[in-house]
């Protein structure tokens, strides 16, 4: 059997469980709503019309996302090499080290420019 | 001694010096006229060295490799036709400079103007001496730039419009010619000197290839020597540009068109020329009549002279495309004569404008009594334009008609009508300007001064001399014309 079939089975069962749980509670729980319950929680203050910052994500987090992308790429290239580094021998090693060095350059840049500093 | 290169380089160098070196500005006029007189002297030397018995052959040949990759060479040489046109250029430039002596310019502007005139002269000489199609084309196109500035920077209200119009017309023609030039390369022998006219003469083309190539060249030349549908830039320029510019333009530069027709169209594509001749002759005749009629209706004297030129160019083209020894000889002779007579006519109009600030015929009247010398000179110049016997235009016109008649009877007869019309517009104009009652404003008009006489009279003398002894010029023109006719008709024999 294809090794991915069990994964599909797992996905089906897990998905069913996730849905069934929510559906069950929708039937089982009481339903006595009032306006205050449906308002969002603001630690006792009067709720504002929308989330702080208009519901937008602060810019700083984009920076994390971008940096993450850079390093994720790095990992993407490291894994295949890690699995086969023996057969790739010295050339592969030098190539990957060069690659790491190049990835490190923007890392250093961002570090020095305060990309990882949160006030 | 590479005399032709020197002839091209001298005005270019002096002109650029005038443009670039600020110290020369104060003495711009003196410097410029000195330079042009030196050039004239050099040309005289050239004429002296020219072997008249071999006028049909290319003399003073210089051939150097220039851009071997595209087959272009720095190839110069003159036969009789080229020589006479170079003489004409070298003669007119100092005259034009002298004529504009009193233009009230600030020193830097004057230096600019004169510098550009000298640079233009260099291009003109270069074009008449070019023996390489590519070189010819380059100079032909590059000449637009100094002319564009001459027209656009100096002159009347409409000068910018006129400059752009001139440029666009010329550029369209030139670029169409470029296609033909490139295509010609592939028809020719190729190699480092692929564009030498001598290498390209006598090629046989596929009929349509030849015709298209011919048309490519002809369109450019027809625009330059304004034939009727594409002539409209000339009156615009003539009325807007400074008189010196217009004189150079009409008297010399437009000859590049007819010169090109003779030396490139006819020589390189004889079969196609014969194929196209009927149409072109029709165009030429239309030009003759249209120019004449349009001239009659003009009030602006610059426009008037411009239209007479359109008419005269029609005659020249008629002579060229009649393919007869006499007609071509006449046409080439006419090119020189027309340069002298139109040049003089423009200068005269310029003198009138300098006196009263207007060139409207209506504004003048009765000047005969006030300024007899001016009136007389104007009359003589005018008569030369209507081909009074004894003047060189007459001789050339007669030759054109005689030569063309056997080839195109109807066309010639119709064209002769143009002469009649010429008499009409010249005499009408003279009448309006110089006879009748003198308006108040005209009474204080000054007569021609010494400088002005020195400027115009040599032209008149030249016309008279050539009119009486046309052989002086024809000796130089006969040989080349015979050569061209030989090429065209030899092709016909095949």
């Amino acid at each position: 059997m294809n090794p991915y079939v069990p994964i599909i089975v797992m996905i089906v069962i897990a998905g069913a469980l996730a849905v069934v749980g929510l559906v069950a509670s929708a039937f089982l729980g009481p339903k006595r709503y009032n306006s205050a319950k449906l308002d969002r929680y603001e630690s006792g203050l009067m709720p504002t019309p929308e989330a702080a910052g208009g519901g937008r994500v602060p810019i700083k987090y984009y920076l994390v996302a971008m940096t993450f992308i850079i390093f994720d790429i790095e990992v993407v290239f490291l894994y295949p090499w890690a699995v086969a580094y023996g057969s790739l021998a010295l050339f592969g090693f030098i190539a990957v080290m060069t690659f790491l060095a190049l990835i490190t350059i923007p890392f250093i840049y961002e570090w020095r420019r305060g990309g990882f500093d949160w006030e | 001694m590479p005399i032709l290169t020197i002839l091209i380089a001298w005005p270019a160098v002096t002109g650029l010096l005038l443009l670039v070196v600020p110290q020369l500005r104060a003495w711009a006029r003196e410097f410029a006229i000195g330079a042009s007189v030196v050039e004239l002297a050099l040309v005289v030397a050239l004429v002296a060295a020219f072997d008249r018995s071999q006028a049909g052959a290319i003399q003073f040949s210089e051939i150097h490799s220039w851009i071997p990759q595209i087959g272009a060479s720095w190839a110069l040489g003159v036969n009789g036709i080229g020589l006479s046109l170079i003489v004409l250029s070298a003669l007119l430039v100092p005259i034009v400079i002298a004529a504009g002596w009193k233009e009230d310019d600030a020193a830097p502007r004057r230096a600019q103007y004169l510098g550009l005139v000298l640079v233009s002269e260099s291009f003109m000489v270069g074009i008449f001496a070019a023996r390489d199609v590519f070189l010819f084309y380059v100079l032909f196109e590059a000449m637009l730039i100094p002319l564009y500035f001459l027209i656009g920077s100096f002159g009347g209200q409409q000068r910018r419009y006129a400059a752009v119009k001139f440029l666009i017309y010329s550029l369209v023609g030139g670029l169409v010619m470029l296609v033909a030039v490139i295509a010609l390369y592939f028809q020719g022998p190729g190699g480092d000197h692929a564009f030498l006219t001598m290498n390209l003469t006598g090629l046989t083309f596929d009929p349509w290839v030849g015709r298209l190539l011919f048309l490519g060249f002809f369109v450019a030349f027809a625009i330059k020597a304004p034939l009727v549908p594409v002539h409209t830039w000339l009156p615009s320029v003539a009325e807007s540009a400074r008189v010196g510019t217009t004189t150079l333009l009409v008297a010399i530069l437009d000859k590049v068109g007819t010169f090109g027709m003779l030396t490139l169209c006819l020589t390189l594509f004889p079969a196609a020329s014969r194929w196209a001749a009927p149409f072109i002759i029709v165009l030429a005749v239309i030009s003759v009549l249209y120019g004449a009629f349009a001239a009659i209706g003009q009030d602006n004297m610059y426009r008037l002279v411009a239209f007479t030129s359109v008419s005269h160019f029609g005659m020249i083209v008629l002579g060229i495309f009649a393919f007869r020894q006499t007609s071509i000889e006449g046409a080439t002779f006419y090119m020189v004569s027309h340069g002298l007579s139109t040049g003089a006519l423009f200068l005269m109009v310029g003198f009138l404008e300098a006196r009263h600030g207007t060139v409207s015929v209506k504004a003048f009247g009765g000047l005969q009594k006030v300024v007899p010398v001016l009136a007389g000179t104007f009359l003589i110049v005018g008569l030369s334009a209507l081909a009074l016997p004894g003047m060189s235009p007459f001789a050339s016109e007669i030759m054109v008609f005689i030569g063309a008649y056997p080839a195109a009877k109807v066309a010639t007869i119709v064209a002769i009508l143009g002469v009649v019309l010429a008499a009409l517009y010249i005499l009408l104009t003279y009448q309006k300007l110089f006879t009748g009652p003198t308006p108040k404003a005209m009474e204080s008009t000054k007569d021609l001064n010494l400088r002005e006489r020195l400027v115009v009279w040599p032209l008149i003398v030249a016309m008279l001399v050539l009119g009486i002894v046309p052989a002086l010029a024809l000796d130089y023109l006969k040989g080349p014309s015979a050569g061209i006719v030989a090429i065209v008709s030899q092709e016909a024999g095949k």
Partner: protein, 457 residues
């Protein structure tokens, strides 16, 4: 998938899983779910109980023996609670988010090997104690944990409320930051195993558990797994004092339960992964040469070994929670980016250099595998101690400079319109009470120890 060929080239063992029938697969899948759900129930009790003990209080002890049924009761309560959908929310995503979370958390165990091929009791079927395995199983695990992030970020955003939003973005930033460190820590494991299949990885540990030769990677993994699961000391997304309950604030009833469940399942997941990658998976803590090894590594024992290891790590989780304070956010991000990632990279370079260069120059690598962690530790100590020393000096200098600058300045208690404490070196005004008593007149005005404060930064 692209690694298929590479992995095959390196490792050619027979996946007997291919022989499973679909029924066996379904049974195994259901068993895994049951195991996970009961483990979570147990884990909740376990955590409260252990935390209680660590804090010298009993913990839950009312329901059932040792309070074991406490979490069952909690789960039932959540199921019967009122299900509120906040008015300001994006309905679809709001409901979808907890489902995504729990769904992703359930998937990981599909590739964890519980043991070698075993005969199913009362039948003749022989099957490995593992739902499935394939050459890139670890990528699958990482992918599942990445999907889990969607649950968090969507839940926080769809609530349409401030605290959940902040919690969600913090959590996302945190998870992806620490995922990098985790990813880097895995590289040497893959190098050692020459495969990304978990079965291969466990098999490759038959000589030695990799916690020893790959100690730095293990430490890195443990730290980042704590960060990845948003646990103390890295539980910033749901820091009660700042963000109420983080991205879960607006959730109630089963929706909340799913988030809650997902969090505990993720703890179990990462513990299982850590056990498998570094602690030998289902392999017994028993040398191969010792008697009884055969028995201890077959039948019912391998799953027990694995579960024991998982719960050991779970205990570590709780232990950490009971012992450490929460990081501030900037400290936490700085730690992730400026310490964990460089260390991870450095370790990869060190290890791979040894493993590639030594054979290239015809030396054996056997000793290097043991030396490497020591070298790494020494290097790390050298670097960090010097960096810390350097920064301490810098801070001291800065404090001194500030001190000098402020020397003799009059202290303004309301600088900028707010009550402020005196800065070092500032001259304190004479107390209005000074001179009332002899003691007061001769009293030494204590200078606040700001140097120490600065160091905390």
């Amino acid at each position: 998938m692209s690694l298929l060929a590479l992995a095959k080239g390196a490792n050619t063992h027979d996946y007997s899983l291919a022989g499973d029938s679909i029924w066996i697969v379904i049974i195994k899948a259901v068993l895994i779910l049951v195991f996970l759900l009961t483990s979570v129930l147990f884990a909740v009790w376990f955590e409260r109980r252990v935390i209680g003990r660590l804090q010298e209080r009993p913990g839950p002890n009312r329901h059932g023996p040792f309070g074991l049924l406490q979490s069952v009761m909690d789960a039932m309560k959540l199921l019967f609670k009122e299900d509120i959908t906040v008015r300001a929310s994006e309905k679809l995503l709001y409901i979808l988010a907890p489902m995504i979370s729990v769904f992703a958390a359930l998937l990981t165990f599909a590739v964890i090997p519980f043991g070698p091929a075993t005969r199913i009791p009362f039948t003749m079927e022989v099957t490995p104690l593992q739902l499935t395995d394939f050459p890139v199983a670890m990528l699958y695990v990482l992918a599942c944990s990445a999907i889990g992030v969607y649950g968090i970020v969507l839940g926080g955003w769809a609530s349409g409320s401030t605290y959940p939003l902040m919690g969600a973005v913090r959590s996302t930033a945190q998870v992806i930051s620490y995922e990098l460190a985790m990813g880097l820590s895995l590289v040497t494991v893959f190098m050692f195993a020459g495969s990304m299949s978990l079965t291969d990885i466990v098999n490759a540990q038959h000589n030695v558990w990799w916690v020893l030769p790959l100690l730095p990677a293990f430490v890195l993994f443990v730290i980042s797994m704590v960060g990845e699961t948003n646990r103390l000391p890295f539980d910033l997304p749901e820091a009660e004092g700042e963000l109420v309950a983080g991205f879960m604030t607006e959730y109630s009833s089963m929706k909340f339960a799913w988030f809650f469940l997902a969090e505990y399942m993720n703890m179990i997941n990462v513990s299982a992964i850590a056990s498998t990658l570094f602690l030998g998976g289902w392999r017994p803590l028993w040398a191969e040469s010792w008697p009884g090894y055969e028995m201890l590594s077959n039948g019912i024992f391998p799953p027990l070994w694995l579960i024991a290891k998982i719960w050991f790590l779970m205990f570590v989780f709780v232990w950490i929670r009971g012992s450490l304070l929460r990081f501030r956010y900037e400290q936490f991000m700085r730690f992730g980016w400026k310490v964990l990632i460089p260390v991870g990279l450095g370790w990869i370079v060190l290890w791979s250099a040894g493993m590639v260069l030594l054979p290239h120059f015809h030396y054996s690598t056997s000793r290097f595998t043991w030396l490497a962690p020591a070298i790494a530790l020494i290097l790390a100590w050298l670097v960090f101690s010097s960096v810390i020393e350097y920064r301490r000096e810098k801070r001291l200098k800065a404090a001194e400079a500030l001190h000098e600058e402020l020397e003799d300045q009059e202290f303004d208690a309301f600088a900028g319109g707010y009550p402020v404490p005196p800065l070092p070196g500032q001259k304190l005004p004479r107390s209005p009470r000074a001179g009332r008593t002899v003691e007061a007149a001769t009293m030494h005005v204590p200078t606040p120890d700001t140097t120490k404060e600065a160091q905390d930064d």
